[in-house]
């Protein structure tokens, strides 16, 4: 069994959000984005201050983090591109997603990995939020039971994801493009 922090289990048990879905694991996403790849290697990225400033200028958004979770996709020794993993927290939602990028830093594909909503008091608690940042993209951590319903309702904007994709495209332009 995978290690799941007890605090996460406790938070889920207490708050049990109505709407949460796990779509893809990072491994499934990288295979969908780069079907021709025969190897995926971690490519952890740490931006320096100058690069963070460049990202802010290019995207018009705060860089938010110096550390980025990046995987390189290869066929033999040839680099096919990168996949960057990220999470965004909106007013009601926590979304883990992956951005596939070509070697020239153009966006190739965006896949949502996991989606989870909270409308109660728990999302306003910094501790609740902190538990998920950096963890949610890991396969399985946010699984809240199978057989989740489809939801019909007013449209929930995905501005946070589109901003996130723009920020990652800028990170790739500054630190990954060749």
């Amino acid at each position: 069994m995978r290690y799941v922090p007890l605090t996460v289990l406790a938070a889920c048990a207490v708050t049990a959000p109505a709407f949460a879905t796990q779509y893809l694991s990072p491994e499934q996403a990288e295979k969908l984005m780069f079907p021709e790849a025969d190897a995926f290697r971690p490519h952890p990225l740490a931006l320096d201050t100058a690069q963070m400033r460049q990202v802010e200028q290019a995207s018009g958004l705060p860089t938010r983090s110096a550390q980025w979770r990046v995987v390189g996709a290869y066929k033999g020794d040839t680099l096919l591109g990168y996949m960057v993993l990220d999470d965004v927290i909106g007013k009601f939602e926590l979304i883990s997603y992956a951005v596939g990028l070509n070697p020239d830093a153009t966006v190739r594909q965006v896949e949502i990995l996991a989606y989870r909503e909270s409308h109660g008091s728990e999302i306003r608690l910094p501790a609740w939020r902190r538990q998920f940042v950096g963890k949610s993209a890991r396969s399985g951590d946010l699984r809240i039971g199978a057989g989740i319903n489809n939801i019909s309702g007013a449209t929930l904007s995905c501005t946070h994801v589109t901003d996130g994709v723009r920020r990652i495209a800028a990170v790739a332009q500054v630190a990954l493009a060749r």
């Binding site: 709407f19 965006v110 319903n149 489809n150 939801i151 449209t155 994801v161």
Partner: protein
Amino acid sequence: MIRRAQPWLGTLVEITVDDGAGQDAVTRAFAEIARLHALMSFHDRASDIARINRTLPGDVVDVDAATCDVLRLALHVADVSGGAFDIACAPWLVDRNILPAPAPDEVRPAPRASAGVFALEDDGRVVKLDAGWIDVGGIAKGYIVDAAVAVLQQAGAIEGCVNAGGDLRAFGAAPVPVAVRSPRAPGQAARHIMLCDEALATSGSYFSARVHEGGVVSALLDARDGRPLVAAASASVRAARCAVADALTKVVLATGDCRHPALAAFGATAFLT
């Protein structure tokens, strides 16, 4: 089941299909969604809609067959709803900063009925009749859901569901359970219903309502007079096609009438939540 989601149409679009369909079918459906998104975007200057909005009265615009389909259905719904739904309502949305001005330097056109703003020629081209701005945000999500279902079925999918931020269509023999959000507690389901080979769309202002110049506005309005629709209730419509369901939710919300004749005209039913 295969289940994937991507950000399109300003929301998350989710596709669920049987395993037999394969990932390729889902990838193809998302490609069609991306193509239609680019054609119907109000914001993208290269879209069919943006080009129609910038066109001067008397000029003709070439548009994709899909855009033409959406415009034809929009005119029909405007007609049978007595104008409660009308895509030429965009000037009001621009005034309220919900949409950006398509041509910032020009005088803002007055909102008028869409039948006076454009007409469709027999060859599928669009004639601009008078100054006006259109926004297909109230119908295109549903249309694109229908188009994605068609791609999935052509690719061999037997059953599944496409859900564009709450406007969805189930296909195949198996009933698909759907939760309708409670407008007062959007994290909870107000009711559960089963859909079998049909569409359900829901509109409500509980996520989009905000204060503008002292009043409350939302992305939803009554196209007859521009009145913002900010009631606490949400309107849901069941219909064979999601494009129809999507557009008719605005008619029900504007009129408060779950037995509006426009519903019967399309074989649709409605409920308020």
